[in-house]
Subunit: 217 residues, 2 copies
DNA sequence: AATTGGTCTTGACAGGTGTCAAGAATGAAT
DNA sequence: ATTCATTCTTGACACCTGTCAAGACCAATT
């Protein structure tokens, strides 16, 4: 009666280390490893638990069901992932600087976090079949779009130009390029890193070749 | 001993109608409906059989296992799908003609065959986790790339220009745009058709803005 | 020391999965 | 009419799945 509708879990733990939320995240990060290895469909809760410090039943203590766990995992990863690009935008002082910094981060993501990213693409594909996933996938997608747009518009600013295309189109192009390079990299086909570097170096300037009109009197 | 290594199935049927290969295709096309509805992972062989004129055991008569069936299905569909774009390229006599014809076909694919295409994207994502799928997915992808390239280079020819980017980059951009529009369309978000029309109308001319250099003496 | 209540494990349940063997059904060939 | 290979169905198998209830465990409180 007196309590709020949403019953809160206590912030402090009795067992284990860290708070409820911290262990929730710990479980999610452990699950991310397995998910990145096996993919959405072929990962079972028992497999997740086996690769963690927990048992298979604990998942339903921290998450309603498998779907909620996986969505939480991907959201958690993507949130971290996007922030890593913010620093590149902020710390770049010249257009060239931004270009190479952005390309470096993309290459780093491609090579060091390929498993996490194929999981993201897996989830996004699944969202075309499972309606419950769509809203979360949409949110992540818009977050990534905004991130790319910050890069592109910042580049345009530094180069004294303005972007030729709108935010959405710019994102889908980069995304297509990244996904293609990711498949090459995962399949062990050579040249993926060089290819994406070249694509970025070509595409970004091309998208910003429009000079700013001087609105003078 | 006297027979060849690869034992051939007879070309004529005893039961049913059509040849062995024809009924193989019939089963595959029936499976495609279910696969397009449920996706790779959530489609069971029993579900496929239930939506067909066969029983669930017959799958292993025509296909070694589930994977072979699904790969065959997607390959079968994609082969048909790609050929439909060839006529557009051949029958277009002007650049504008080609542009609208191509856009029309894309919109038609987007709206009328969204289920088939989400299946393709599903399979492609799965190929990042399952090595057995990679070769077939790669082949399909290259086939699509060639198809797109035929459109782009034909447009450039008709417009008296030459493409700015190479085949691979052009394909990944279109693919990114199409996939994004497909997600919008499937999720019921408005404007997907208009958006992709505009993107095509913008991107193709932009990719072919380079005038042909006259190689004179 | 006893109690409490959050945390986690265990084990079971009901249902679904791909696969395959055994044989029924079918129609052509003899 | 009998034989025969092909085609398809049936039923079973071993295994895996998400879920959840029952209770064990344990730190903090009294």
């Amino acid at each position: 009666m007196a309590s709020t509708e949403s019953q809160q879990k206590p912030a402090r733990s009795r067992r284990g280390t860290g708070s409820y939320d911290e262990r929730r995240i710990k479980l999610a990060e452990s699950a991310l490893q397995t998910l990145g290895e096996l993919g959405y469909a072929r990962t079972s809760l028992r497999e997740i638990a086996a690769n963690s410090e927990f048992s298979h039943g604990v998942v339903h203590y921290y998450f309603r069901d498998k779907t909620e766990l996986i969505v939480f995992c991907v959201k958690h990863y993507k949130t971290q992932c996007m922030h890593r690009y913010d620093s590149v935008v902020e710390e770049s002082t010249t257009a060239e600087n931004l270009l190479t910094g952005f390309a470096d981060k993309l290459v780093q993501t491609l090579t060091e976090e390929s498993s996490m990213h194929r999981l993201w693409y897996d989830l996004r594909s699944q969202s075309m079949f499972q309606e419950v996933l769509r809203e979360d996938v949409y949110d992540i997608d818009r977050g990534l779009e905004d991130m790319i747009w910050r890069v592109v518009s910042q580049y345009a600013d530094l180069a004294g130009n303005r972007p030729l295309v709108e935010s959405r189109a710019a994102y889908t192009m980069f995304d297509g390029i990244f996904e293609s390079a990711l498949r090459d990299h995962i399949a062990g086909r050579a040249g993926a890193v060089e290819w994406i570097r070249k694509q970025i170096a070509t595409l970004i300037p091309a998208l910003c070749s429009q000079p700013v009109e001087t609105e003078s009197a």
